[in-house]
């Protein structure tokens, strides 16, 4: 039986994200009890004033970070897809950081082991999603993202027709 992908991760909508960093503040507060974007699991990139996007772990199907770790410190949960870091095994070498295409796994500035988004599992829901003032962040699956992209594309293609039906 074919099964839909159920793994959920945090995604930002580039049309809505304004680069305000509220996600970084709430993340570092939740995880580290301090306001410090440097310790946030989600980071905002502003290429220019119009291009803003928050980036965090995508919970890849075949995560390069896990494969890259020479000490088997990283594992991925079969069920949720979350990446777990074994703090005793991690020696902060940074292979996983280099392997991640999204810059979503980072070296902690103080305890020198890597850290990555875990969807705030202890809180039951990702705090960045809850706090984002623009509702630009959502917890979603790759399947839902694909659906949305398709619908947007078709709407764009038939802009005029959509307007017509709305009028009616």
């Amino acid at each position: 039986m074919v099964k839909l992908h159920e793994r959920k991760f945090v995604a930002a909508d580039p049309d809505k994200c304004v680069g305000c960093q509220v996600c970084e503040y709430i993340c570092s507060l939740t995880k580290e009890k301090a306001f410090n974007p440097l310790k946030s699991r989600i980071r905002v990139v502003r290429i220019n004033q119009l291009i803003n996007l928050a980036v965090t772990c995508r919970l890849c199907e075949d995560p390069p970070c896990v494969g890259a770790c020479p000490r088997k410190a990283l594992t991925q949960s079969e069920e949720t897809g979350l990446i777990a870091v074994d703090k005793d095994k991690c020696n902060g070498c940074g292979w996983c950081i280099e392997a991640c295409d999204y810059g979503a796994i980072m070296l902690h500035p103080e305890n020198k082991v890597v850290y990555v988004c875990d969807l705030c599992k202890e809180k039951g829901e990702p705090q960045c999603v809850k706090w984002c003032p623009e509702e630009a962040l959502e917890i979603t699956t790759s399947d839902v993202l694909a659906q949305k992209a398709r619908i947007t594309a078709v709407k764009k293609l038939f802009q005029e027709a959509v307007k017509e039906t709305q009028k009616k």
Binding site: V18, Y25, F35, N36
Partner: protein
């Protein structure tokens, strides 16, 4: 105290040395941060009557106790304070974005910069390490280009940079300091002071944690303000933006047009906030930690000014538009981008171009003297060209780059009557002839002509008082608003969020208490706002300013509004101004000459500054 970094960084550009000192707790409690703390530190580190461009004039960059927290709009601001090359009294200007918060994380409440570097340098603050690096390769670059180049050179994307442009390098008295590409500490010429020190930029990277005294309650409060910011108090800023004022002011006939020749603009419909949003706004973005977002990014995608991108607000739109008689938004947006590129205050630039156009139309400046430009009101291309010349300090731009007052002093021929400045600073987009509470606010503003030192226009524009008359009682209205605005700029929170502090002082006192753990009361906070205003006044008195400088532009006091409509015939007489000033000084507890009394200073706990009034 928690909330504060607890350290002040002192940098001497002449010797290249730096050191830190513990933050004076008494200063922190009495002056909070931002402009309050900045002015107090400036006073402590300066000599009376120092020339603004003298290396001995300190330049202070200060953040506030809220900086670096996730308080909505509060995390991100910084204030720049120094003696102003425009007013020759205290200069201060604020900007938001990401710079102030980074400085806080680097571990500083303020940076006091003294001296002058031998060659152009930029300051690199990397937590505890402070270096002066060669900036010769950055000279001539815009603040935005400088930011990119520094990030590239130091190899770190998250470095935050506040920089000057060409105008600041060339000591244009209207030069500003810009961070995050489009956020300017615009007013009072702080960029020129930086330029006089051979300091091209300050780059900072901070890695320290920021925390607050009562975290759980603080986060509850943050949540509440996130909700408030989604409500009506911020709607204007989140939707149409301040450009909404164009049609509002025009309908009240209180929008200075063509260098104060008119108070309404026939082309207003073409450049309204409505049109700007429909045609040009590509995205509304936000500063670090903000939950409302206001920054209307405009893009021009066709025509002669294609590929222009910049932020637009009412004041700058007004100065470069109606004030120059220009009704083309694409040209206004282009001119705004140029002010950011060269690093000049867009309000002062627009008002000065309007002044030049007035001089040109009256034959005071010939076409030859304005470099062959047909500088008629309404000539959009001419406006853009003049702004560029000001930015580069080239040709007639060299004359105009110091603002209208300095230009008029050189031109003479009666041009001083056309210069719309107060204390040497160009006026902003409120026709003071028919907004008499605002007129008082502008006249007494310690940093020169400005709406952001008091917001007193609100009483007039919203019809809470009869805006066409001067009467007793306006002094107290202005005073109370000033005190709150002083606190806003010292905390630092964003003025656009002021409406979310439903209870104003009690709300702000609660915020201060939750962050610092120091039990602040609304009454004490009120006194603090008053103290900051008195401090500014003492500085201005020490530097030679006084009642004579609390004045209004010539046209405001001599040229009645000619336009048909609700404001026709309005202007401010000397008698009215005197009445307003007397009323204001009295409500402040100052003498007739506008000097704080010993009694007042004692009441405010400013005993150590009493010698300053004794020498007056």
């Amino acid at each position: 105290m928690i909330g504060y970094a607890g350290r002040v960084l002192y940098v001497d550009l002449t010797s290249g040395k730096n050191h830190t000192e513990p933050l004076n707790e008494d200063f922190a409690k009495k002056y909070i941060g931002g402009i309050g703390l900045g002015m107090r530190l400036w006073l402590q580190n300066s000599k009376p009557k120092v020339d603004p461009f003298d290396p001995e004039n300190p330049l202070v960059i200060a953040n506030g106790p809220i900086s670096g927290t996730m308080w909505p709009t509060g995390g991100n601001g910084h204030a720049i304070v120094s003696k102003s090359p425009q007013t020759f009294g205290i200069g201060e200007s604020l900007a938001h974005g990401t710079f102030g918060t980074e400085l806080k994380r680097a571990g500083y409440d303020a940076v006091v910069i003294k001296g002058k570097a031998e060659r152009p340098v930029y300051m690199w603050i990397d937590d505890d390490s402070v270096q002066l690096l060669d900036a010769s390769g950055l000279m001539g670059k815009s603040p935005g280009e400088t930011e990119d180049a520094i990030k590239e050179e130091l190899g770190d994307y998250y470095i935050r940079v506040a920089a000057i442009g060409v105008a600041g390098e060339k000591l244009a008295r209207m030069a500003c300091v810009i961070n995050d590409k489009t956020r300017a500490a615009g007013r009072t010429g702080m960029g020129a002071v930086m330029g006089s020190k051979n300091l091209k930029a300050v780059a900072v990277r901070g890695t320290h944690d920021i925390t607050v005294a009562k975290l759980d309650e603080f986060m509850e409060y943050v949540k509440e303000f996130h909700e408030r910011m989604k409500g009506p108090a911020t709607q204007k800023y989140r939707t149409m933006g301040t450009a909404e004022n164009v049609l509002v002011h025009n309908s009240l006939s209180c929008m200075p047009t063509r260098n104060y020749n008119n108070s309404r603009f026939e082309g207003a419909e073409k450049i309204s906030g409505e049109v700007m949003n429909e045609k040009y706004v590509a995205k509304i973005i936000g500063c670090s930690s903000c939950a409302m977002r206001c920054e209307h990014m405009c893009v021009v995608s066709e025509g002669p000014y294609k590929n222009t991108m910049t932020r637009m607000e009412y004041e700058t739109l007004w100065a470069l538009g109606p004030y120059c008689g220009v009704d083309r938004l694409d040209a206004i947006i282009k001119a705004m981008e140029l002010t950011n590129y060269y690093g000049v205050d867009a309000i002062s630039a627009g008002v000065t171009v309007g002044f030049a156009m007035d001089c040109y139309e009256r034959g005071i400046l010939t076409q030859k003297e304005v470099d062959g430009i047909d500088a008629k009101f309404g000539n959009a291309e001419a406006m853009v060209q003049l702004v560029e010349k000001i930015g580069k300090r080239e040709g007639v731009g060299d004359l105009l780059a110091d603002g209208c007052k300095f230009a008029a002093d050189k031109i003479n021929k009666g041009s001083e009557k056309l210069a719309a400045t107060i204390k040497g600073v160009e006026i902003t987009g409120y026709d003071l002839r028919c907004l008499k509470t605002a007129a008082l606010g502008f006249a007494v503003s310690f940093r020169g002509a400005d709406h952001n030192r008091h917001g007193a226009y609100a009483f007039d524009v919203k019809g809470k008082v009869n805006r066409l008359i001067a009467e007793k009682g306006r002094g107290k209205l202005v005073r109370d608003m000033e005190d709150v605005y002083n606190l806003i700029d010292s905390f630092i929170v964003c003025k656009f969020s002021r409406g979310t502090y439903y209870k104003e002082l009690p709300d702000m006192a609660k915020l201060y208490t939750l962050v610092t753990g120091y039990d602040m009361t609304p009454e004490e906070l009120k006194k603090t706002g008053e103290r900051i205003n008195n401090l500014a006044r003492l500085i201005n008195l020490r530097e030679g300013l006084g009642r004579k400088d609390d004045n209004l532009p010539y046209k405001v006091m001599h040229d009645p509004i000619p336009d048909e409509g609700p404001s026709k015939g309005a202007y401010v007489t000397q008698q009215e101004l005197d009445l307003l000033l007397d009323d204001y000084y009295e409500s402040r507890g100052w003498t007739k000459e506008g000097v704080p009394t010993e009694e007042k200073l004692k009441e405010l706990g400013m005993d150590e500054l009493i010698p300053l009034v004794k020498c007056n």
